[in-house]
């Protein structure tokens, strides 16, 4: 019999519908795999009962001859940025340790309403601030991938990052601990970890998925999306996650398209733009080669390739590192030791001292760094020079994309400037870490849908991803271009189990 944990969303959904196996069997297989993978540190909380309850409901509905829900029998992982009712939600920070939400985030509720069950809460960079999962207060997530050139000494088997911030999600999917998981993306936090672990992930247009009940990082950028093994599974899961929510002021009041039904890998008549500014200095030859391969695949699928220019690309990262910390410094003001989470009250401390002590004890270094940068750029005398200027540059970056859409339908770029790096390799230099998001941040600043699909392996046997960026609300073209590449890449590599 097939190992059920090798199946993705579509295969599980269809198998449960057809009675090839029960939802309970699927849940049991994944729960066992999660329990046996503690060394990856992907899960912060395991919730087998949640998964079993959803599975039993699916099996009961099938036995009763009812129409099964879109995700009936599919167990998923939930990034710990989503508040889940009755289940500890910490955003991987000590400051939220012990917080048990009395409510459910809209996106997770949508998934449960669609019949999905939860295997557990996934580790991540603290408050989603990081690109390597090293800022979690509960330990690094270890990628299931290892370099194939470990050598006799095995020294090249240094533990690798699964990417970040959705690194628990990417590691868990790549290790077959769950068929899919939620992610969130502020500057690349779905796409970069997907690329580093050989899976697919899509950040939809800003406003497609409700931010209600998602721990806020930078509200004008934060957007939830699915991470899964392939493009079809992403389409299925995104349909379940998206939708209008009156409780999120920036939620788009639009119907959710039938993305799965609209999937087509035929790109005839489509124009794919290649932004020349994404050919950055010191880009490894393997990344350039992968990009050229992606262009060849797109041509093979019938697309016409056009070169486009996004002249303000080089300013995207510095603009992002003003805007995102500014919004974070404001959003994270709520962690004060009064209403939830940690309180540190030194002997004799007054209220102000309690706030300062609580925040010093509860936030990790990277979170403090970003709060302080944000506080600085918003402070009197600096606001216009930094924050207003960054917001103007953001307008110019969005205009660059608008101009590009006059000559193409989607853009094709690498997802990240390198394959996964070793844990600790970049943690001493914040700017080196920030540069990892050079290809993903511009589309985040413009609110555009963008996805990463696996393109191949580098010389060390590590996955590399290709990114597709689309017009606002045109997730379908993004998914279809992703599918065309997926069909031609034939990516079947998976990490050899060592954990």
């Amino acid at each position: 019999m097939t190992d059920l944990t090798d199946l993705g969303i579509a295969a599980i959904r269809d198998g449960v519908r057809e009675g090839a196996f029960s939802a309970r069997e699927v849940a049991e297989a994944f729960v066992a795999r999660v329990a046996a993978a503690k060394s990856l540190n992907a899960f912060l909380v395991e919730t087998p009962d949640h998964a079993f309850a959803a599975a039993d409901a699916a099996d009961k509905a099938r036995a009763a001859g009812e129409t099964l829900k879109p995700l009936a029998g599919v167990p998923i992982g939930m990034k710990d940025l989503f508040c889940t009712k009755g289940v500890a939600s910490t955003a991987a920070s000590h400051i939220l340790e012990g917080f048990v939400p009395p409510y459910e985030s809209r996106v997770s509720q949508n998934l449960w309403d669609a019949g999905a069950g939860m295997l557990g809460k996934l580790n991540m960079d603290q408050f989603a601030m990081g690109s390597s999962n090293e800022t979690s207060a509960f330990g690094n997530v270890i990628s299931p991938w290892r370099r194939s050139d470990g050598g006799a000494s095995g020294k090249n088997w240094a533990p690798l990052t699964p990417g970040g911030s959705s690194g628990g999600s990417s590691a868990a999917i790549a290790a077959r601990l769950c068929p899919a998981a939620t992610g969130t993306d502020t500057g690349g936090s779905i796409r970069q970890p997907a690329a580093f672990t050989g899976i697919a992930g899509i950040k939809p247009t800003y406003g497609r998925c409700s931010r209600w009940g998602v721990v806020a990082f930078a509200s004008s950028l934060d957007q939830a999306g699915p991470m899964a093994r392939d493009v079809r599974d992403c389409a299925i899961m995104l349909e379940a996650m998206a939708g209008f929510d009156p409780r999120d002021a920036t939620s788009l009041d639009l119907d959710v398209p039938k993305w799965e039904a609209g999937l087509s890998g035929d790109l005839k008549g489509k124009k794919i733009g290649i932004p020349k500014e994404y050919r950055v200095e010191n880009m490894p030859a393997e990344i350039e080669a992968l990009w050229q391969q992606g262009i060849a695949w797109a041509k093979d699928a019938g697309a016409e390739i056009v070169e486009v220019s996004l002249p303000h690309t080089r300013y995207a990262l510095p603009a992002y590192y003003i805007i995102a910390p500014a919004e974070a410094s404001s959003n994270l003001a709520r962690y004060d030791g009064v209403r939830y989470g940690l309180r540190d009250l030194p002997d004799g401390a007054n209220l102000q001292e309690m706030y300062a002590a609580t925040r010093a004890a509860g936030f990790g270094d990277e979170v403090k760094r970003r709060i302080m940068i944000g506080t600085y750029v918003l402070s009197a005398g600096y606001y216009d020079a930094y924050f207003t200027q960054a917001s103007k540059v953001r307008t110019l970056i969005a205009r660059d994309f608008e101009a590009a859409w006059e000559s193409c339908d989607v853009l094709l770029t690498p997802t990240a400037p390198s394959a996964a790096f070793a844990l600790g390799e970049k943690s001493a230099d914040p700017i080196a870490m920030y540069l990892n998001d050079v290809f993903t941040v511009p589309s985040s600043l413009a609110g555009l849908p963008a996805m990463s699909v696996p393109g191949g392996l580098d010389a060390a046997g590590l996955p590399l991803g290709l990114q597709i960026i689309g017009k606002p609300l045109d997730e379908q073209s993004v998914l279809n271009a992703g599918l065309a590449i997926e069909q031609r890449a034939g990516f079947t590599a998976r990490p050899e189990q060592w954990w």
């Binding site: 709060i371 600085y376 110019l396 609300l473």
Partner: protein
């Protein structure tokens, strides 16, 4: 751009984060490097460009002015580090 420890302490105080002298020493060059890096934005000509306020055109919705939620005091207080008599409790603030 150089940031001195006095500036770091002032920012930390505005951000309500307690820091030691040693931490301020460590953070000063770190923040200086990051701020120096983001200062390159100054070279972009943004003379007649409006700052972005919404990435995707959307309109602010109004809802009916009616009660839609409430009566959840115990749930609201359930996660408080200290709650007394139906209120959040904090150290005494009356001088």
């Amino acid at each position: 751009m150089s940031v001195d420890t006095a500036t770091v302490k002032r920012i930390a105080s505005l951000a309500r984060i307690a820091i030691t002298d040693a931490e301020a020493e460590r953070l000063a060059p770190e923040l200086g490097n990051i701020l120096g890096w983001i200062e390159q934005l100054g070279e972009v000509d943004t003379g007649d460009v409006a700052p972005m306020t919404a990435v995707i055109p959307n309109h602010l919705r109004l809802r009916d002015d009616v009660v839609t939620d409430g009566g959840a005091r115990d749930a609201v207080l359930a996660n408080a580090p200290q709650a007394e008599h139906g209120f959040f409790a904090v150290p005494k603030v009356i001088e």
